[in-house]
Symmetry: C2
Amino acid sequence: MRLIDGKAIAAQISAATAGEVAALAADGITPRLAVVVPTRDEATAWYVRSIERATKRMGIDCQVEELWDATADQISARLAGLSADPGVHAIICQTPLPPGTSLHEVARQIAPAKDVDGASPASLGLLAAGLPVFAPATAEAVTEILRHEQVPLEGRNVVVVGRSTVVGKPAALLLLAQNATVTICHSRTRDLAAVCAGADILVAAVGRAHLIGASYVAPGAIVIDVGTNPTADGGLAGDVDADAVAGIAGALTPVPGGVGPVTTALLLRHVAQAAAPRQGPA
Amino acid sequence: MRLIDGKAIAAQISAATAGEVAALAADGITPRLAVVVPTRDEATAWYVRSIERATKRMGIDCQVEELWDATADQISARLAGLSADPGVHAIICQTPLPPGTSLHEVARQIAPAKDVDGASPASLGLLAAGLPVFAPATAEAVTEILRHEQVPLEGRNVVVVGRSTVVGKPAALLLLAQNATVTICHSRTRDLAAVCAGADILVAAVGRAHLIGASYVAPGAIVIDVGTNPTADGGLAGDVDADAVAGIAGALTPVPGGVGPVTTALLLRHVAQAAAPRQGPA
């Protein structure tokens, strides 16, 4: 089994983005990303710091807006304010949100042109309709990795495990747009292993560490592991049991070092695109 | 094989809608549907007349707006005008559109609260996000028929043939929301018959008369035929070869008399809901 090098793919994407940022700088434009952080959460804080470092390296301004203990209405109002602020090109809203609040509910206030992580229902609808829009970076990382790996999608059986609006559904839509035959599975799917074992390409986005074992993978299948499950020792575990599938899968994205770095690189590419005067989402 | 009686299901839905319309009338409200017809087309004209008859029977006002030879911009402007008109509760835009124009492009101008056929990308996004919205009536007819027939969906394998934004994708989203495992197929799917033959429930929305033959259907499968392909003699043919699957399928919606009447009944239900002061999409 080949391990897919997400860091190398991310480096290629970032090199191209650096060129776009340099071109913007020549026009006097510094892209600016606003990161709204609604709740105190250790994993979120870690991720936000990594975004701050990545934007700084790229020459992108990053303003972190901590709205701790804010209500859903206050978060929505802040996102609307940032959408109206001409000095802000791009907006992301971190989870977790206050109890009872869904990301899609507050993300309705993010203008599609600034919605670089495809979080709003409007962006999801544009994606489903095949119109220009920023896809959720994690979902796009799936198809971007497959493209870099030159894995043909047309007519291939792709199984997506997980139906979240931030990964599973948008990934399914992106794969469908590339002419894959797409099956969406979830916690209620009967005999999940058998369904997964029918896949040429398996996308695991279910959020359960090491759920995907040997019986889930067809010989030679390409496996994209979107899982980022925290481990007891402070690390990350994927949804795939890499040791168990090592003798079966054709290729696998490791966790960490697979989907994660590609996601961050795509997010920065979206920020640069959002800052370009007439470009917007690709 | 049992033939599913779409007219009987439609009659049940319409009886409930008549009650809602009567309640609105008691409050002095007559629901009003605007139907925008952008091009001269015989099949469209036939459908619009059937909508006019159905709304009249239901006590719903129907204003048909013929915009023949209009440009995409003119159609968009009219839809925006109707969205802003407080006298109009509900809007649908007929196809075909002028060459090079997509329904989703012009339907962006239909306000979600009046978008009773779920045509705008915003509505599709709300549907994908699981938020309240009017689903496209044809897509909703699929799940409504299965509900009336008491076909359990949880964990069942459903195959949707067709990935259009008006039927295939929204039907897949509605089925997924009811915990089915959903596979979306299309013209590029390899060995379509074998994929379809794995379905407990098969939804044909591909637009090719009698494509779905005996080899596509598992014994006992429930088959929903969304096809409305015009025949040489002026009739309608489904996507399913009913004679060929008669000895195999457990149940089938006929064409005509299956999905069609349920679609119209749901559209009228949506119009009544759109006219209700505080109700909106369910």
